[in-house]
Each structure stands twice: as C-alpha cells, then as structure tokens.
C-alpha cells in the first residue's frame, strides 16, 4: 500500500508565499476531502504535488513511499503513480485526443500497449464515463463542453490507473447526471483500493463518493484533520466556526471576490493582477 507524504511544505509563486508549512499523508484506500475557502492554497497544493513549474518549493518535501518526488519532473511523478484531474483542462489544438491518450498510456505502463488492447481499453472507459467515442478522435479538449472536458479527465484517470488521484473541483460545470456518472466511477476506483485527494465546494459530490477523512486548509496550512462530519458542518455553516473555536482568523483575500468566478483558481487569478 502506497502513501503520499507531504511534510512541512512551503511554496511561493512569484515571491508570494502561498503554502506555509503543509503536512499531510494520504494512503491508498483513503479518500480525503480537501476543504477550505477560496484562495487559501488548495489548488496550489495539488499543482505543487504534480510539479507545476510555476510554483517554487522553498521548504519541505513530497514523498511517495520512499521515493522523493520533491525535485522530480512532472512526467516522472505521473509515472510514479500520481494523477491530477485539472480544474480547467486546457484545449490543445492539433493534438488528437486518442494520440495523446495512447502516448500517456504507453508512458505510464511498463510495456508498450498494442493498438488493439488500447482501443479496447478506450472503448470500455468511454462507455463507463458515458462519453461519445468520437470525442477521442477530436483535438484534445478543443470545442469540448465543460462537462466533456471533465469526463475526459476521468477517462484519463481510468486509462492510467494511478495509485493516488487528485481531483480539483471535478464537479464544477457538471450537471446532476454527469456528477452521478463521475461519482460512480470514482467510487468504483476507490473500492479497488486507490487513494484520492478531492477538492470540492459541494456536499453532493462527497455524498456520492463518501470520503474516509476530511482536512481543512486555511491561510496556506492544514488546520483541521478529522472525520467526515466536518464536510456536513462546513456545508451547512461555512467556515465561521474555525474562527470562534480554533481562534484562527481567516485571512481575507487581496482580491475582490467579484473577480474570481467558480471554476477558476483564485490564487492564479490574484497573481495575475
């Protein structure tokens, strides 16, 4: 059983410290809900774990079991068994979805997958996420609807079979039926013993996938690590109780909330300014 170990992680973007000492472990078989207000570093944490070049680690470490990922390239992290479903998957014109998927499958599996086997895998996976097969023959995410992009992320997860999957608001932009489909796929993967770290602002997704643990991130730190009652409590009452019970004041974002729309990373938006 593999464990992703984040220890005292400090991260900067363009001189601004976003993560201020994050320590958390996630093991296979666990499904961890990552909660917290906008702009407090949730998406940043996921991107840093995956090795996004924008973010600079100033202190701390990321391990998968005994393998130090802190200085590894993004593709090596993926090969080690990490997967990140992006909040806003980019459109990459000209790159055919199935070519991309095949290159990804070949990179992450030990031996080259035959054409026949690949198409069988792809066929099964597209059926499971209820995605029309012809999307596989189009340019990667180009002209896909919001829901199709998110289904395509889940499809990639299924094909690559990672040990630990991180989902960054996989439910934003999905209609009720699509959330149901995506939720079922995740639940099924979870039952096979995979690990999950999931950001969402909505209890609906968590009701479907039933996390085993919940953590709350405030001011670039994990301030609560507890059972899943936290999800219900936050869904009903918001984050106010953290101020009153834990004595932590929630830093206001520098950014006017009107400028941050749902489905975008608040930290990235704030830095753009």
């Amino acid at each position: 059983m593999s464990t992703l170990k984040i220890k005292n992680l400090h991260v900067e973007v363009e001189g601004k410290e976003i993560l201020k000492g994050v320590t958390v472990n996630i093991s296979e078989g666990e499904c961890v809900a990552l909660l917290g207000p906008n702009g407090h570093g949730k998406s940043t944490l996921l991107n840093v774990i995956m090795g996004h070049p924008r973010y600079k680690i100033t202190q701390g470490s990321i391990y998968l079991d005994d393998l130090d990922l802190t200085n590894l390239s993004t593709d090596q992290r993926a090969k080690a068994g990490l997967f990140l479903a992006l909040q806003n998957p980019p459109e990459v014109p000209g790159v055919i979805n199935s070519d991309f998927l095949r290159a990804a499958v070949n990179s992450t599996s030990e031996e080259k997958v035959s054409t026949y086997k690949f198409y069988k895998l792809l066929d099964n996976a597209t059926k499971e996420v209820k995605m029309p097969f012809d999307l596989a023959t189009r340019s990667l995410n180009e002209g896909f609807s919001g829901g199709e992009k998110k289904r395509n992320e889940i499809l990639q997860m299924m094909l690559l079979n990672p040990k630990i999957t991180m989902l960054d608001e996989i439910d934003s932009g999905l209609d009720v039926d699509a959330i149901q489909t995506v939720g079922e796929v995740i639940k099924k993967q979870k039952e096979t013993g995979k690990g999950f770290l999931v950001i969402s602002h909505y209890a609906r997704l968590f009701d479907l996938i039933q996390p085993t643990r919940a953590i709350v991130m405030i001011n670039g730190k994990i301030v609560l690590d507890g059972d899943t009652n936290l999800i219900k409590r936050i869904d009903q009452n918001g984050y106010e109780f953290i101020k009153t019970e834990l004595g932590i004041s929630i830093e206001k974002e520098n950014l006017d909330m009107n400028q941050v729309s749902i489905g975008s990373c608040a930290v990235k938006e704030a830095i753009k300014k």
Partner: protein, 252 residues
C-alpha cells in the same frame, strides 16, 4: 503547359519561366515536388476552373516568383509545405481578376539551425465578390529566422469581397527570430476583412498538462508541434502525407 486532371512534376523538370494554364470549366490538381531557385512560375486560371496546387519544398529557394491570375469564378487552393534546409524566400502573388474568383492558401514552414526564411504571400482583389484566405503556420527553432509577410489588397470598386489573413509562429529557442506581419490594404467600404498574427512559445500550461500524464517533455513538445503543422497534410495524398510526417519528425 496545359494541365491535366492530376499531374506530378519534379522541380528539376520545370522550366524556370513555366506557364501553366487551367482551361475553362476544368478541375485539376498539380503536385509540385520542389521548385527551383530563380524561377518565375505563372498560373492562368480560366473561367469557372479550379486548381488544387500542392507543393513540398525541401531544397533551397531564392529569387522565386509564383504568380496566379484568376478569371471569373475560378478557384485556386494552395498547400505549400516548406521543409527546406537553408533558405526559402518565395514571393507569391494571387491576382483575383475576375468576379467571384477565390483563393485559399495554406502554408506550413519549419525553420531550424541557421535557416533564413521569408515567405511573402499576397492577394490582390481586383474584382467584385472575390474571396481570399491566407493561413500561415510556422515553427522556428535554434538560430533560424522566419518571417511571414504579405499584403491582401482590396481595390476600390471590388465590393462584397472578403479577405482573411492568419499568421502564427511557434518559437522554440531564445535565439530564434520570428516575425509575422500580415498587412491589409482596403480601398473599398463594402468588404469583410480580418487579420491576425501570433508569435510565441508553446504554452507552459499545455506542456504541464501533457507531462502530468506521464508523457516526457520532449515527446509533449513533439506532439504539440506536430499537431500545429498537421493541417497542411490535408492537401496531399497518402504517400506524400507519410513523407511529410517523416520530414516533420526528422527535422524536429
């Protein structure tokens, strides 16, 4: 030379001042396997004719003019694949002389090592209701220089004409020199026109996305670049498609 249904001609077999004629109402394809330096090629498209012209350029090309004159309701579609080593500096001019004449021009160019390329694609709208579209895509690597120039000109009186220019260059290295300068000259009010130019490196977000799926940085770059040049393949038959694919992979 009067063209036939489909013809393949090697550049070495061409006269420097070859004139090609497409007869009225004809529908022809011509594949030019390379063009010689110092050429002055001329295409005459008669009424209601259509020419699909595909070019693969692998050798040096300098001091070369390619001119097409289009009569009423004729159409020229050009796919120009420039994978030449060293220089490529053609001046291409399409004159839309007859009412309803159309030009659809596609270019893919790869400049690497010390290549110096300047591709000029111009369209003259000399008659009413004419249509011109230029799509130039380029990749610039190492110390190469790549420039997309060209003027689309709609003269006074060429009403209801439309013209579109699109120039994009992907830059790989700090020493690469890429310029895109599409120019529009419009002397008539009742027209539709647009132009766009973009020069830049591969998006970091795209590279992150591809590498986050286990694809190496080099392979991710190749996939994106290949996808960028690929639209040019549409203008070629299967044999030439394979050849172009190999050329792209070889030169990247």
């Amino acid at each position: 030379m009067i063209l036939k249904d489909y013809q393949e001609i090697k550049g070495t077999e061409l006269k420097l001042d070859e004139k090609f004629v497409v007869n009225a109402n004809a529908n022809f394809s011509l594949f030019l396997d390379g063009i010689n330096s110092d050429s002055n090629l001329n295409f005459e498209l008669k009424e209601n004719s259509t020419l699909l012209l595909s070019v693969i350029q692998e050798t040096n090309l300098e001091n070369t003019k390619i001119t097409a004159n289009l009569q009423q309701n004729s159409t020229i579609i050009v796919y120009f694949a420039d994978f030449s080593v060293k220089n490529c500096k053609p001046q291409i001019l399409i004159n839309l002389n007859g009412e309803g004449a159309k030009a659809d021009f596609h270019l893919a160019s790869l400049a690497a090592s010390n290549d110096n390329k300047n591709l000029d694609v111009s369209i003259m709208h000399n008659a009413k209701n004419t249509y011109g579209k230029v799509d130039n895509y380029g990749v610039c690597k190492d110390k190469a220089k790549l420039c997309f120039a060209g003027t689309s000109h709609i003269i006074n009186g060429a009403v209801k004409s439309s013209t579109y220019q699109n120039a994009k260059i992907m830059v790989f290295d700090p020493n690469s020199d890429a310029i895109a300068k599409p120019i529009l000259k419009i002397d008539e009010n009742d027209v539709v026109a647009s132009h766009s130019a973009a020069v830049g490196k591969i998006s970091d977000e795209h590279l992150f996305y591809l590498t986050s799926r286990g694809i190496s940085l080099d392979e991710a770059r190749n996939l994106i670049t290949y996808g960028y040049l690929k639209p040019i393949l549409k203008g070629f038959n299967d044999k030439e498609k394979t050849r172009l694919t190999n050329l792209i992979e070889g030169r990247l």
